[in-house]
């Protein structure tokens, strides 16, 4: 029995280690603010660790982990929605469900993203690095560059569009809209 428990825990740990990146991007798909994502990721990790015995090793780990994460996100969103203009509770659940249905489609695109970022022209890549580093706000960055913030937001949007196009173009078959 103890052996079984140990084995279950080992399986859990293995899955837990594997899922970290996926879990993070999943949370980020529902709550876009990086600091909030970090907090929710931590909170979800804690919940998973605290409830590891509830994990059924016969079933896929990620749906269970994402369900835990979704609960955390929804609780958070109920408190923060007005501040952050988050999606409604129902839409968070629907977006989440969409991701499960289209897991392969999404994974394939994220797999291609590293190469796409690497292939960006240096200035665009630098913009992405800087904007996503969290070192300063877009507004502060724009001020330091003597640019209106809107210009920087626009540039960032264009780079995201390029990246989205790139991950689509790297798919062997049909592309997503």
């Amino acid at each position: 029995m103890a052996r079984n428990g140990h084995e279950s825990r080992r399986l859990f740990d293995e899955q837990f280690v594997r899922c970290q990146d996926h879990l993070y991007t999943y949370i980020a798909s529902l709550v876009p603010n990086a600091q909030d994502v970090g907090e929710l990721f931590q909170q979800t990790s804690l919940q998973l660790l605290q409830n590891w015995e509830k994990y059924d090793a016969q079933r896929p780990f990620m749906p269970w982990a994402c369900a835990v994460a979704l609960n955390e996100v929804r609780t958070f969103a109920r408190q923060q929605r007005h501040r952050d203009r988050l999606l409604s509770d129902a839409l968070l659940a629907t977006i989440s469900e969409t991701q499960f249905k289209a897991a392969e489609v999404i994974d394939a695109r994220l797999d291609a993203l590293g190469g796409c970022v690497e292939g960006l022209p240096p200035a665009k890549r630098a913009l992405v690095e800087k904007c996503y580093s969290g070192e300063c706000s877009i507004k502060d960055m724009a001020a330091s560059m003597s640019l209106p913030p809107q210009t920087l937001y626009k540039r960032l949007e264009r780079v995201r569009r390029e990246l989205y196009q790139c991950i689509e173009l790297k798919q062997p078959g049909e592309q997503m809209p």
């Binding site: 740990d13 293995e14 837990f16 280690v17 594997r18 970290q20 996926h22 993070y24 991007t25 999943y26 949370i27 980020a28 876009p32 990086a34 994502v37 970090g38 990790s45 660790l49 605290q50 896929p60 999606l87 409604s88 839409l91 977006i95 991701q99 499960f100 289209a102 897991a103 392969e104 489609v105 999404i106 695109r109 994220l110 797999d111 993203l113 590293g114 970022v117 690497e118 292939g119 240096p122 690095e129 800087k130 996503y132 580093s133 969290g134 877009i138 937001y153 995201r160 569009r161 390029e162 990246l163 989205y164 196009q165 790139c166 991950i167 173009l169 049909e174 592309q175 997503m176 809209p177």
Partner: protein, 542 residues
């Protein structure tokens, strides 16, 4: 009443893209927020596009977000480190190709139907990240550079969560580096002298120059140097600070951290108790303690009997490589050494040349440099071939050359393209960022067992390569000579037999224009230990 979202409409797709971007940036107005919700409620296609977009945003966050941005403590101040500390991107890939219209085509429903297999969610993104250089944009200034504080100094049967991004022995490790180990042991040596032996499954992060965060799993830490005094292992519930020590830590379950001291003493501090200063027990040699977050109490005691091997305190001593140099050539003379090499420039496409000059041998248009001697793992247990290759030029079609090393070859060109005959060919494709092994001719079967890393392969750059031929297993590693963090390998099992054992180096055959030119230098061929299928050669960093 909001207009319905039409996936085939470029205008609608563009609108969704802009709304998603504004959501990422936190700049949505109330009106935009309402419109976004309406679109997402209306259309499954829009929901999927939005989900991809937002996951992409999350991926970028995870790759680039700096430590301090999430308020994580850089060192042992009792603040739990954030899980979002991934300072730099290390993935390498294809160059951006072309452009099309964003959201350019309607969603194929077949994708949705075909992709309900939730197991695929475990296809993970890069975990192990490798530092990159400075930001080249003068407008944006230098990006945060990684601070290297440790090296990976040993492994024993280590299986990483993402083998594609697994660090190799000898790699520098920066703060923020996460090591997600499924099984086996790895040894991390901090520059201050502290050592950590991590035992998988474990998730560990180098969170400072003198400490780390063990999220789950177990480790043994040794802090024997003056500089490593105060080395701290943090867990979700406890900080274990060295007082001149060797100790083991296990994050056993959601509430409990267990600590055992082998040498010296440690100070334990709860990271969850309200009054942290009130309890900071010192644990001495031979003592053990566990901390229960539910009760916020340390329970001191002796290590349980029969648990001597609970913590791995050393890595198994690796067998010393019995390496015997069989051939070495730095190509410093004025001509190819006829005692070592044969040359063949009879490629049917013409303009083939092999010229030794400028301290290297230059290979043009599939001119072949062939070892005069033969090298067989039947004789030498395993044969290791190393060297440095530079893609010099491909004329009008840049990044089209191919580095090719063929083993078990007759040394003679054959076929339409004049490749070396027979044996196994190791290919490194400029522009495609791809390594491959192929058998040429008859008698071989290949079974690829492992690919690791990613490598950008470009003209004008030099690459160190290492081929291990263990007879039944071969492996091929290529490392950017200027950036050892860029490295990739492929390992394959081989079945078959061979009658010739020349080693042949050549590049691509002539296709017009100026043709292809590569250079080769620092070639060593040595007899060494056999290579394991699970253990591709380490990064060639010498």
């Amino acid at each position: 009443m909001s207009e319905p979202y039409e996936p085939s409409s470029a205008k609608d797709r563009n609108e969704l893209r802009q709304l998603a971007s504004a959501m990422c940036d936190g700049t949505l107005t109330d009106e935009q927020h309402a419109r976004l919700e309406a679109i997402l409620q209306d259309s499954e296609e829009a929901r999927l596009s939005y989900a991809i977009y937002m996951r992409m945003n999350g991926w970028l966050m995870r790759q680039f977000r700096s430590r301090t941005a999430d308020g994580a403590a850089p060192s042992g101040d009792g603040t739990p480190p954030s899980g979002t500390q991934f300072p730099v991107l290390g993935v390498i890939g294809d160059a951006l190709r072309g452009a099309g219209d964003f959201f350019s085509r309607p969603i194929p429903l077949s994708y949705l139907i075909a992709s309900v297999l939730l197991g695929s969610l475990l296809t993970l993104l890069a975990v192990m990240v490798v530092p990159r250089g400075s930001n080249p944009d003068p407008l944006l200034g230098p990006s945060a550079k990684p601070t290297f504080v440790a090296h990976l100094t040993g492994t024993d049967d280590a299986q990483w969560a993402d083998p594609n991004m697994a660090p190799a022995v000898g790699w520098q490790l920066p703060t923020g580096k996460r090591l997600d180990l499924l099984s086996g042991l790895v040894e991390i040596t901090y520059d201050v002298g502290a050592k950590v032996i991590l035992e998988g499954p474990a998730a560990y992060e180098i969170d400072s120059a003198n400490g780390g965060f063990l999220r789950v799993g177990k480790l043994t830490a040794t802090a024997a140097t003056k500089e490593s005094r105060g080395f701290v292992i943090r867990t979700p519930t406890v900080s274990v600070a060295d007082l001149g020590t060797e100790f083991g830590v296990e994050v056993a379950d959601e509430h409990r951290t267990e600590v055992e001291v082998f040498v010296g003493a440690v100070r334990l501090t709860s990271r969850v108790a309200q009054d942290r200063d009130a309890e900071a027990p010192i644990l001495r040699e031979g003592q053990a303690a566990s901390f229960d977050a539910k009760s916020s109490q340390f329970i001191l005691g002796e290590p349980a009997t029969g648990r001597e091997e609970r913590f791995a305190r050393t890595l198994p001593v690796p067998e010393r490589p019995r390496e015997t140099l069989l051939l070495a050539d730095n190509f410093d003379e004025d001509a190819v050494d006829p005692a070592k090499w044969l040359v063949d420039t009879s490629n049917p496409w013409g303009k083939a040349a092999v010229v030794q000059q400028n301290g290297r041998v230059e290979l043009a248009n599939r001119g072949m440099l062939i070892t005069k001697s033969q090298y067989s793992p039947r004789v030498h247990d395993a044969v290791k071939i190393t060297g440095q290759w530079t893609f010099v030029t491909s004329g009008e079609m840049p990044n089209m050359d191919i580095m090719t090393v063929t083993i078990h070859s007759t040394g003679e060109p054959a076929g339409r393209y004049g490749q070396a005959t027979g044996g196994l060919a190791f290919f490194c494709y400029a522009g495609l960022d791809f390594l491959d092994i192929q058998y040429l001719g008859n008698g071989f079967l290949l079974d690829f067992v492992k690919r690791t890393g990613k490598l950008r392969i470009r003209e004008g750059e030099s690459y160190r390569f290492e081929i291990m031929d263990g007879g039944d297993t071969v492996s091929f590693r290529v490392t950017n000579a200027g950036d050892p963090s860029q490295t990739a390998s492929v390992t394959a099992k081989v079945s078959g037999s061979w009658n010739h054992n020349h080693v042949v180096f050549h590049n691509r055959e002539y296709h017009g224009g100026d043709g292809y030119l590569s250079s080769l230098d620092h070639v060593n061929i040595s007899a060494t230990l056999r290579v394991s299928a699970a253990d591709p050669p380490a990064a060639n960093t010498d």
